[in-house]
């Protein structure tokens, strides 16, 4: 099980042919108190980089992008009623979606944890 990161502060945890996606602890801290989460429908398909979900803090709305291409197989509906779950467990219980990815090679272009930490520190 490996976890990769995008420049836009999403994480993706790969388990076989599917993966769990969320936003990083760093992103959640930058956003501040999350007050609204909009999730895609199960069955929706996205290409890498598409707007996939929306997360809003008191301050602003931000898009969450698909880190890889794929089809949504599950969403974390608990976040819709309790958006603060993103702040409480960004890289755990505050996951956004599970997707079945279509092109495993897209994962190669993503950062590992060490590279992401450096990116976040500079970004």
């Amino acid at each position: 099980m490996t976890t990769k990161f995008t420049e836009d502060h999403e994480w993706i945890r790969v388990e076989g042919e599917s993966a769990t996606v969320g936003i990083t602890v760093h992103a959640a801290e930058q956003l501040g108190d999350v007050v609204f989460v909009e999730l895609p429908d199960v069955g929706a398909t996205f290409s890498k980089g598409d707007d996939m979900a929306v997360v809003e803090s008191v301050k602003a709305a931000s898009d969450v992008y698909a880190p890889v291409s794929g089809e949504i197989i599950e969403v974390n509906g608990a976040l819709v009623d309790a958006p603060e779950g993103v702040n409480e467990g960004a890289e755990g219980t505050g996951w956004f979606v599970k997707l079945k990815f279509t092109d495993p090679s897209e994962l190669d272009g993503l950062m590992d944890e060490a590279a992401y930490k450096e990116h976040a520190a500079n970004g």
Binding site: D33, V35, E38, E56, K59
Partner: protein, 380 residues
């Protein structure tokens, strides 16, 4: 190319307090402190929040050797409020208008209290983003009949239900000051102008203080257990819940006092006499109504409707725009303001909001979204 940001006199203190600095109205300002926007908002509604609003413009309009009536008559050429009858030590919220009746700015106009030898002078507080334009406009219109002296002073606001007790501990007379009154006071070594007013919907004070005494005053206030520093983020959500306009967003030169739903700022005598810039349009709209009007908008779901969101009818036809919107921590849900046609302005009217291409139901709502905490004086 980015313009060089100006820094506030308390810049170092904001950084020491962990403020996250962002550009606002040409200044480097704290948008939040480590507490975070939501908790800063709730703190202000429960206790007392300290805001550094030194970016705002402070000026004195003066008629040398003149009376209050002399200076009041002059400013009344540019604002629709009753200033001539403004009592000593009283503050009035008013609007600076152009000849088309458009709102150039909103401002606080104070008459100095009786114990200050300042007859013929008014204290003005205007918005940071337009302060230079305001000053130029006022001076140009009043010419050599009056002199505008721009003050280089700091302005600290202490807002919230505990603000009165905190200030009262330093200035006992403050305990009895009704909302929209002003007085001179001494706090520590500083001579200050203490004004009971604010921009949060809470009871509170704004304190004009010399720059060299601002840090001492801020630290004195922050030393109180009930006081925490509050950034621009919470200032915005607090004023939004309180139904108060943000200049350049909820009011612009395209809007009149009538369309902006600020007719409470029109003096009774002024409504019959006119005699202020843009009176023709304002009095006509007052009689006939304006085409569009500012209203509160309460989304029914959880999705916040931000500035620029299209307001539509049930079948999706655009009727207006949201001018301010976000999440209201005290309401615990989304709140917004925007402009709709008069036909859709009644409280309870059902509208739709186009948020990212999807229509979300909402209703026209009464403003403010929260009950104001202003202290009006002893109950009779």
């Amino acid at each position: 190319m980015t313009e060089t940001l100006k820094t506030l006199p308390l810049d170092a203190l904001h950084r020491e307090l962990g403020g996250k600095m962002v550009p606002f109205a040409g200044y480097d300002m704290a948008v939040q402190y480590p507490m975070g926007v939501k908790d800063e908002h709730l703190w202000t509604r429960a206790k007392a929040g300290l805001f550094d609003v030194s970016h705002m413009g402070q000026a004195i309009l003066r008629v040398a050797g003149g009376s209050h009536e002399d200076v009041a008559k002059l400013i009344e050429e540019l604002v629709p409020g009753e200033i001539i009858k403004l009592g000593k030590g009283r503050i009035r919220y008013s609007l600076l208008l152009n000849d088309q009746g458009g709102i150039l700015d909103d401002l606080m106009i104070s008459r100095f209290p009786a114990d200050q030898d300042a007859e013929g002078s008014l204290f003005l507080v205007v918005n940071a983003a337009v302060k230079d334009a305001d000053y130029a406009y006022i001076q140009e219109r009043l010419g050599d009949r009056a002199k505008l002296e721009v003050l280089d002073r700091s302005l600290l606001a202490l807002q919230g239900p505990k603000a009165r007790a905190v200030i009262g501990g330093l200035v006992p007379e403050a305990l009895e000051m009704p909302f929209m009154t002003t007085r001179a006071a001494t706090i520590g070594g500083a001579q200050v102008t203490l004004s009971c007013c604010g921009y949060t919907g809470e009871d509170g004070f704004e304190i004009s203080v010399a720059n060299e005494h601002a840090e001492e005053l801020a630290r004195t206030l922050l030393a109180h257990d009930d006081v925490a520093p509050i950034g621009l983020g919470a200032r915005d959500s607090l004023r939004l819940e309180a139904g108060l306009c943000l200049y350049g967003h909820d009011m612009t030169p395209a809007e009149s006092p009538v369309s902006a739903a600020l007719t409470f700022a029109l003096g009774k005598r002024r409504k019959t006499e006119g005699g202020f810039a843009g009176a023709d349009r304002v009095l006509k709209e007052l009689a006939e109504g304006s085409a569009m009007v500012r209203v509160g908008v309460q989304p029914e779901g959880r999705a916040p409707a931000r500035e620029g969101t299209t307001i539509a009818t049930g079948n999706g036809a655009e009727i207006g725009k949201i001018t301010s919107g976000g999440f209201g921590p005290s309401v615990s849900g989304p709140v917004a303001m925007g402009y709709v046609p008069r036909s859709h302005a009644d409280v309870g009217t059902e509208v739709m909001l186009d948020i990212r291409g999807k229509l979300h139901p909402a209703r026209v709502a009464a403003l403010p979204f929260v009950e104001p905490g202003y202290y009006r004086g002893p109950k009779s």
